[in-house]
């Protein structure tokens, strides 16, 4: 019963946030200088089309009515048309979204794989080598510019050792698997199409690692700080005083307590990734939402940009909601 109330409460907040998002995008699209109609149909459109758009969006109507129309359009899933690709934006996104999702997920997994263990070790073994390594990496990972790191990785692994595939798109040395989820790795697994599986995995390693390094750093920090906090806490001391073996203390008593804040961090980072792979996608010409946005921006084609913004903002909020629910289930204190 309480979970229902809780979910309801969270949903309200979610809706509020989405509402806020829509307002902001609306302002960006409509209130900025320059005729939004042109921003939507593109500079080259002739007057008749512009008028058509002005009419469709009701740009001549009062601002509130405009907003209402805009919202209705969004709710109907009509994200407009890209005059650059000539397709409805929703259609273009149907292939771009999985690409970004795939990249973001792999990156997240890699990040978790390196940063959390290192964070734990560094806080368990104070002043050890791995502790300093962790400090160093977290500092570096936060400070290093993604696009630069990406360039360096390309230099080393593609141009240098020539072990990485060319940094172009999702699959270069094989034909893509037939689309089921739109995520090549998964699709090729389902269809057990090994050739494209390896090809697409090889293709994703560099961009994913780039993100994993930059995303892992804050994750490592959080893990480290909270693990320290927990290890100093009274209940760990008394657990030790009861003669509980170290392994159990770390994994059964301490780690679960760290998991909660860490999972929040993961959610935040993942949500960020869903809209934040732009630069990496740009450098590796990864055909995801980020690149789609940039390409559209470069051809002053604005419908897609706003669609991408709204989509990733919403998915961020959704991810956040999900973690909250997860906590509700995991953490007894919230019950």
């Amino acid at each position: 019963m309480r979970i229902l109330a809780y979910v309801f409460h969270r949903l309200i907040i979610l809706l509020l946030a989405v509402f806020g998002v829509s307002i902001i995008t609306f302002i960006v699209t409509r209130v900025l200088p320059g005729n939004p109609a042109y921003l939507i149909v593109g500079v080259q459109a002739d007057q008749s089309t512009v008028d058509a758009v002005i009419d469709r969006l009701g740009l001549d109507k009062p601002i509130f009515e405009q907003y209402w129309l805009y919202m209705r359009q969004l709710l109907l899933g009509d994200l407009g048309t890209s005059w650059r690709t000539g397709n409805p934006v929703s259609f273009d996104l149907s292939s771009r979204w999985p690409a970004t999702l795939e990249l973001a997920s792999i990156a997240m997994i890699l990040a978790i794989m390196w940063s959390i263990p290192l964070g734990l070790i560094s806080s368990i073994k104070k002043r050890s080598f791995s502790d300093y390594l962790a400090k160093f990496l977290s500092g570096l990972g936060i400070a290093i510019p993604e696009f630069w790191l990406a360039t360096l990785l390309i230099l080393v692994f593609f141009a240098g050792f020539q072990i990485a595939p060319p940094p172009i798109g999702r699959i270069m040395l094989a034909s893509p698997p037939e689309s089921i989820t739109g995520m090549y790795i998964i699709d090729s697994l389902i269809t057990s199409n090994w050739e494209s599986f390896f090809a697409s995995v090889a293709q994703i390693i560099l961009p994913a690692s780039t993100l994993a390094i930059t995303i892992g750093a804050p994750l490592l920090r959080v893990t480290r700080t909270f693990m320290n906090e927990v290890l100093d806490s009274q209940f760990i001391r008394s657990a030790r005083a009861m003669g509980i073996p170290k392994s159990s203390i770390i994994f059964r008593h301490a780690f679960p307590n760290v998991l909660l804040p860490v999972s929040t961090m993961i959610a935040v980072l993942y949500g960020y990734l869903l809209g934040g792979t732009v630069l990496v996608e740009f450098v590796f010409s990864w055909p995801g939402m980020g690149k789609y946005a940039i390409d559209s921006i470069n051809s002053s084609d604005y419908a897609p940009v706003m669609a991408v913004v709204v989509l990733s903002a919403t998915s961020y909020l959704l991810v956040y909601l999900l973690t909250d629910l997860l906590h509700f289930v995991v953490d007894p204190r919230t019950r």
């Binding site: 500079v43 080259q44 008749s48 089309t49 650059r84 690709t85 000539g86 273009d92 292939s95 593609f158 141009a159 020539q162 072990i163 990485a164 595939p165 060319p166 940094p167 172009i168 798109g169 270069m172 040395l173 094989a174 034909s175 050739e195 390896f198 090809a199 995995v201 090889a202 390693i205 690692s209 010409s285 055909p287 690149k291 789609y292 390409d295 470069n298 051809s299 002053s300």
Partner: protein, 519 residues
């Protein structure tokens, strides 16, 4: 980390035994195709694609030069769709026989109706096609149909190049039904639909797939009646970075790298498995100044800039000396060209003086360039600093090919660095292509009535001496008006994989991909 190592190993294995592009032709191009509409392509890469999927009715016959290179002989003309044609004594009328048994990709037979529709659409859609017919062939009405395979084409004025003008992509065969099907009230010729789709088409290749910003896939068409494409599958990969294109060619992932800059060619020189085809080119690199956008509506400003540009520096540092200086609107190889007898030599002091006497108020001007062309940015930066030296502020704006050509055609560019290639090396042709008042290709919106009259009369003038004199005058006028700063005439270069044969060099420097074969 070990997991990653394994994946790398696995990937290497795949690379070794899955040489899946061996049979196909993989081309690395700098930016996406802006349009598939035959009427209105500007971006050179679009013409590449159009020649592959569509087919114009005539073509230059292939001949072997003394050096063994294959070239399209611009002095002669073969028919593809057209079987034969006969010029009537009036010099205006042509009777054209259409080859029997040809069809479009969709099996529809090519006949008089189709050909007539081609003319009709070209005359009614603003674009290169319309310009060719109206300004070069002086044809303003569609031909009349004699029978299923014979038409009669009549121009308003005699023109030496009615037939040769039809070797352009715009004269390709399209399917009227399909076009009509997608026509709308405000777009009767379905130009919007055709920018992304193929209406019939009769070229050696069929368009299979076009994923915007990623790749375009063609497949050979078995029904093609000319010499069929020898390479069955053709993949164009869009690879924005020229350096990466070069590197991929080196590493053998792609077979042809388009639009490379001097840096890239330098890095490819001597690389094994790569050959670089060079040919003298009619491609003129110029700095355009839009005569209808201030401050360049003032001729003094244009002259000032023409004096300011450091030509030798550009030849030396951008083209590494592998280009000739351009002195005027005609290529150096053109027999009408004045060469270095006229034109601007770098003279900063003079430039500054001219600028001072001009209406320039110190506002910043914008140099727009095509981001897919490697050399443009380098030139732009050098010109920017030259302009600074005479006290002009300039900003550089990089545009994607699609947007660039849109703005260019819209004559919205204040200042640009672009290449102009007169596909027919004739003074009339090249002037009316780019510098005749109001013509489609006059992107810098230059207009000089006297030059126009020379162009008009030039067509009819048969006395070579007179004609020379006329165009000498025209060149002087144009150089004096300085609509362009005439920069350089670089050689044509194309880098491709060793063992890829069959390249034929045409005047318009657009390859026909069905010629290629693996040796």
């Amino acid at each position: 980390m070990r997991f990653i190592k394994y994946l790398f190993i696995a990937y290497m294995i795949v690379c070794v035994n899955s040489n899946i592009y061996a049979k196909d032709l993989v081309v690395g191009i700098g930016g996406d195709i802006e349009t598939f509409d035959v009427c209105c392509a500007n971006f050179i890469q679009s013409h590449h694609a159009l020649y592959a999927v569509y087919e114009p009715p005539v073509i230059y016959p292939t001949v072997k030069t003394s050096s063994g290179a294959l070239v399209g002989d611009a002095s002669d003309l073969d028919g593809t769709v057209f079987e034969s044609w006969k010029a009537h004594s009036d010099g205006l009328t042509y009777t054209i026989k259409i080859r029997k048994g040809l069809t479009l990709h969709n099996g529809k037979p090519i006949n008089s109706d189709l050909v007539r529709y081609m003319f009709e659409r070209n005359l009614n859609t603003p674009g290169g096609g319309a310009w060719l017919l109206k300004n070069i062939a002086f044809v303003t009405k569609p031909p009349e149909i004699i029978d299923d395979y014979t038409i009669k084409l009549t121009g308003d004025k005699p023109s030496p190049m009615v037939m040769s003008s039809m070797y352009m992509t715009s004269s390709s065969m399209i399917d009227p039904e399909i076009v009509k099907e997608h026509a709308t009230s405000e777009d009767p010729w379905a130009t919007k639909w055709m920018t992304r789709n193929i209406a019939g088409g009769s070229g050696p290749y069929k368009l299979v797939k076009h994923i915007p910003d990623q790749e375009i896939i063609f497949e050979a068409w078995d029904g093609y009646k000319g010499d069929k494409a020898k390479i069955k599958r053709m993949i164009w990969k869009i690879i924005p970075s020229p350096a990466q294109r070069a590197l991929l060619l080196k590493s053998g992932v792609i077979d042809i790298a388009e639009g490379l800059g001097e840096e890239e060619f330098k890095s490819l020189k001597g690389a094994d498995g790569v050959k670089i085809i060079t040919a003298p080119s009619g491609n003129l690199i110029y700095l355009g100044m839009n005569s209808s956008i201030p401050p360049f509506n003032d001729v003094q400003v244009r002259r000032a800039v023409s004096y300011a540009v450091d030509y030798n520096d550009i030849l030396k540092n951008v083209y590494n000396g592998d280009a000739k200086r351009l002195w005027g609107p005609f290529s150096g190889t053109n027999s009408f060209s004045l060469g270095s007898k006229a034109g601007y030599r770098t003279d900063v002091a003079k430039g500054r003086k001219l600028l001072a006497s001009s209406s320039y108020k110190g506002e910043a001007v914008k140099i727009s360039i095509d981001s897919s062309k490697a050399d443009r940015e380098l030139i732009a930066v050098r010109i920017q600093s030259s302009m600074r030296s005479i006290g002009m502020k300039a900003e550089i704006e990089k545009l994607t090919p699609a947007v660039y050509s849109e703005r260019k055609v819209g004559k919205k560019l204040q200042m640009t660095i672009d290449g102009m290639n007169a596909w027919i090396d004739d003074p009339n042709y090249s002037l009316s292509l780019t510098l005749e008042c109001g013509v489609y290709g006059n992107y810098m919106d230059y207009c000089n009535k006297e030059v126009d009259s020379i162009i008009k009369n030039g067509w009819a003038e048969t006395n070579l001496e007179k004609r020379k004199a006329m165009f000498e005058r025209a060149q002087k006028l144009i150089i004096d008006d300085a609509p362009w700063a005439f920069i350089a005439q670089p050689n044509f270069k194309l880098a491709m994989k060793e063992g890829l044969g069959g390249y034929v060099h045409y005047a318009n420097e657009i390859p026909r991909y069905h010629h290629y074969y693996w040796e």
